[in-house]
Symmetry: D2
Subunit: 327 residues, 4 copies
């Protein structure tokens, strides 16, 4: 049993190439802009009481700087450092004051090469849950999860479940019964982190929770009326795996956002992870739709926590197959 407490998916830090375009897009989607400066946008969802869950930094090249988890106690960060050092991972402290609104943060290059950040403290912001007059677009409620392509799912799965205390809600096996993809959670819904066999490490998408299914339909209508129909990549549909009602969008730099609603409570230790066969047609989309090629092939590259350079990507260990990623 772990001696620290990772609470939940916290925030994503993305590099984007055109801040105005990004601002317009995420604003249309219904995000709340907490703060901005010349180079950075800080967005949050309508129910979020923390300063932000999405940071967009203007940089020459689009990439993922970090995916972050919030931990319960300040000292959990030290315990995590100890664990990662023991494992031989690259580790880097971001001292309080170096990142806006966030306390001391620990960054690591995780077992798959993903740039992962942990923090315990973030400044507050007004929670706008009942300011319905400010709701618009898809009425984004809060950050929900990260979905990542990694070359060795089993290895990452082992580390996250055994060393970091994540539980598995659902998973996919290939013909040989090998772990092809896994949905892992700390907060008790389907996932905070999904790991899938694929060219990686890359971040496939960042999932945000919506208030209800009609918010997703309304979101499509508003995006289309503002000229963003080309940014709708897949959906609306129902996932077999997770049961969520979903929509996939590409932001102006190609970062993929999932609008996600309607999974279930995974609080119980006797909940048996749901096993899906890679070839089950309803796993991918319960209603039977096929995803476009772009959805299988494209994902955001990630950065080295020290050098800021792109991490080299590798072919996956198991066979790539379409469907390669699932949710």
């Amino acid at each position: 049993m772990v001696n620290f407490d990772i609470i939940r998916t916290g925030r994503a830090v993305l590099h984007v190439t055109d801040l105005e375009k990004s601002k317009a897009f995420y604003d249309a989607l219904g995000f709340i802009l907490t703060e901005e400066d010349e180079d950075t946008l800080y967005f949050r969802g309508l129910e979020e009481h923390n300063h932000h869950s999405l940071v967009l930094k203007k940089r020459p090249v689009a990439a993922v700087e970090a995916i972050s988890f919030k931990v319960r106690y300040e000292q959990d960060l030290d315990k995590l450092e100890e664990l990662f050092l023991k494992q031989g991972a690259k580790v880097k402290w971001m001292e309080k004051g170096t990142q806006k609104a966030v306390g001391r943060a620990l960054r690591v290059q995780d077992i798959s090469g993903l740039p992962v950040e942990y923090y315990a403290q973030m400044d507050g912001a007004e929670r706008l849950l009942q300011r319905y007059d400010l709701y618009k677009g898809a009425k984004v409620q809060r950050i929900d999860h990260f979905n990542c392509a990694v070359p060795d799912v089993q290895k990452a799965y082992d580390f996250y479940t055994k060393e970091l205390g994540f539980a598995c809600s659902e998973y996919t096996v290939d013909d040989q019964g090998q772990n092809w993809a896994s949905w892992l959670h700390r907060k008790p819904n389907v996932h905070d982190l999904a790991l899938m066999n694929g060219v990686g490490p890359r971040v496939h998408h960042i999932g945000f929770w919506l208030k209800d299914p009609m918010a997703l339909i309304d979101g499509c209508d508003v995006l289309a009326s503002l000229g963003y129909s080309g940014n709708i990549e897949r959906g609306p549909g129902r996932h077999g795996l997770s049961n969520a009602f979903f929509l996939y969008l590409r932001d102006p730099d190609g970062h993929r956002i999932e609008l996600y609603f309607g999974d279930y409570l995974t609080s119980d230790p006797d909940f048996k992870p749901i096993k899906w066969d890679l070839n089950d047609p309803m796993r991918q989309t319960f209603w039977g739709h096929k995803a476009p090629d772009s959805w299988f092939d494209e994902a955001s590259e990630v950065l080295d926590i020290e050098t800021g350079e792109k991490i080299a990507i590798k072919e996956p260990k198991l066979a790539k197959k379409k469907p390669q990623f699932v949710i």
Copy 2:
């Protein structure tokens, strides 16, 4: 058979006492302001291609100046004048140019004393049905119907069905089987005009069509977040009579607005009007809720088409009973 064609409910002309308050309220509800001047606001719904369906005039006393129906042909107005003159009704022409955006209009004091207007032509306005980026509040789509309290329902029913060509979709009878209330239509849904036994002539409410049931829920949330929870009088609920999902609001002057969605097609001559017993608890609200006293007792008074003075109201012919008005 009539030799003119009343198409549908057209517009309401209301007197209000504080234009700024009214503007804020109807804007919050999601109406589109087509045009305004010092004394007048012209609102339309999102799908409406005509200039307006709601006119608010600043006057010292709140009242209903006219409820209007649109007719197919210009000459239908002359045929209607002939009919009303024959009947001995007060008739008044509003020549083209005297009312903004509306062609020649015929005003009459109808058989119940209601100020009713007919017009064939109204200027166009941009139809915003697919400008989802402009949707807000309850996303009001279009005007649907008028509901009026009259002292003698049977008399009014006879005139509207026999002389004006309205068809009855549903009606309510009292213990003696007398016509207590009737829902009459020209366009093929449940009503353009409902007539109910009550102190009158008064306009009980003006009904507007919504895009879907969630627009009504969203409307409640937005109105409440803007401080209008006190304006929500009744609902949300499902009508037994008409089957519509409804919400009743009071505007800042007490004029009652119904948000209305989900009745049915009444195009067929073999559609048998649905008869409800006055005491059927599901007639009023399918889900069994009671309406507040204000809803039974209060309605907007109406004006004389010539003098502009309030029309004297009379006690109804049949027993008043709570439920006095229904939908």
Copy 3:
């Protein structure tokens, strides 16, 4: 001006090859089975007060026997016969008693070769609009429209608008400004009949009206849970043309059904038909999705009203292009 009154889309008469499969499918969709015999199923929607709007006959080959419109008066049928005879069309009477629940009906091979039926009378059936306990699947409310592929849209458009009294709500033109597709209505919503340039005469789909957008989402879920995900061909999505929220299904014989919700009122003579360019990407799907090839290429063949043989299909007059059909 025409001297008869076609009210609305009435019913479709389809040939299917396996009655049990068809019964299970339409039942899952939420249709009400009014009556059945060894060879025939009679289905209706939840609000329909007429005996049926969909007839499925067991036959060796799947095809469309007739698409039917309801007229106001018995004598309208005679006036229609006169018109079609004058035009030189094939005409055939189905006397009362020869078709279950339907009065005397006039069948014609229309100007495009489509088998069209007109009738004034149909037996009643219990209207189940408020029997919510019987709602299931996509909660199909009523029949809405037919969409047909014809080789010469302009010719058919002229006949339907000039001779039969249909009005046009929206239309599509090709690069030369030629009429590529038209949405025509008698009841005042977007269409009772859409005509599109394509290999024809064929019936592309039959549209049914739903109670609200969530009924469409629920319908997808229920169909998928019953094993019909393979029958979902396209959608859910929002049409640019018509503004409707839609889903296309293929029944067990490949007949295409559209679940359709949310167009608008087209009652007014001053409503200006909306013109779309064939290449406008939002015409097809407002949210930007592409339709699958099957949706462009496949449609139901139709029968000769006299011989019962399939009508020979022809290449269209204008260039076929994907998107060939739109809504």
Copy 4:
């Protein structure tokens, strides 16, 4: 910090007087009947993978036998026993085998006199989350919370937060700033247990989570069509406190059920409990509706865990006021 882990609201054990009536009611609502015998019904929600969350026992008098919480480990039960014994509470073991489908359970008469049960193990049942073909009524998804009237909220609040590890999400204070009502949770949404100043100990209602807002509207329609409109006590409405979309029902014995959807994530230690003033009109209902008297005055009485007799109820410590209970 506590050394055991109460996971979540687990199940309610109710006494009812007519099993057939209860069965019909909860079935109409959309509960799944896992099992039944002559005297007992075991119901679960659509996503629940445990045998039941609602037990109805046929008894001469309606009452609440127990409200139950699920704990993580078997040994948590022993630690809880130790705590309650130290506190001087009545404690009773229900050995494995004495209750169907449930492992060893600890029952206590809590600090307010409520009969509370803890258990770690319950038999599994097929999870029907994706059997949409079985969805009906309000499509009840899972148990969410208990709401109880207690005479001394502060005392109960202290015990639950300090000794049992519950966190407070929202609370209400009276004019003197005294704790008038508190919403407490273990799973990270608004509550597993609400405590309100009132004649008690009594169980005001049991809350069940729905899939989305339309499920609540659909639930009203289905209940009404089956003759249960008289069982709808309050709503639909939006709670100010919790933000949930709600409906209150009375079962055939008067036990109150809340259909509840749409609160928010309360996972974070830096989430500041939201304070409401007792007289804030939006606390009770965000849309401004008043609750009926029955909702303030009536609640289910509870039983002594040893004698099975009703626990004597006491007047509350703070002034009773309408609104007495809130959510």
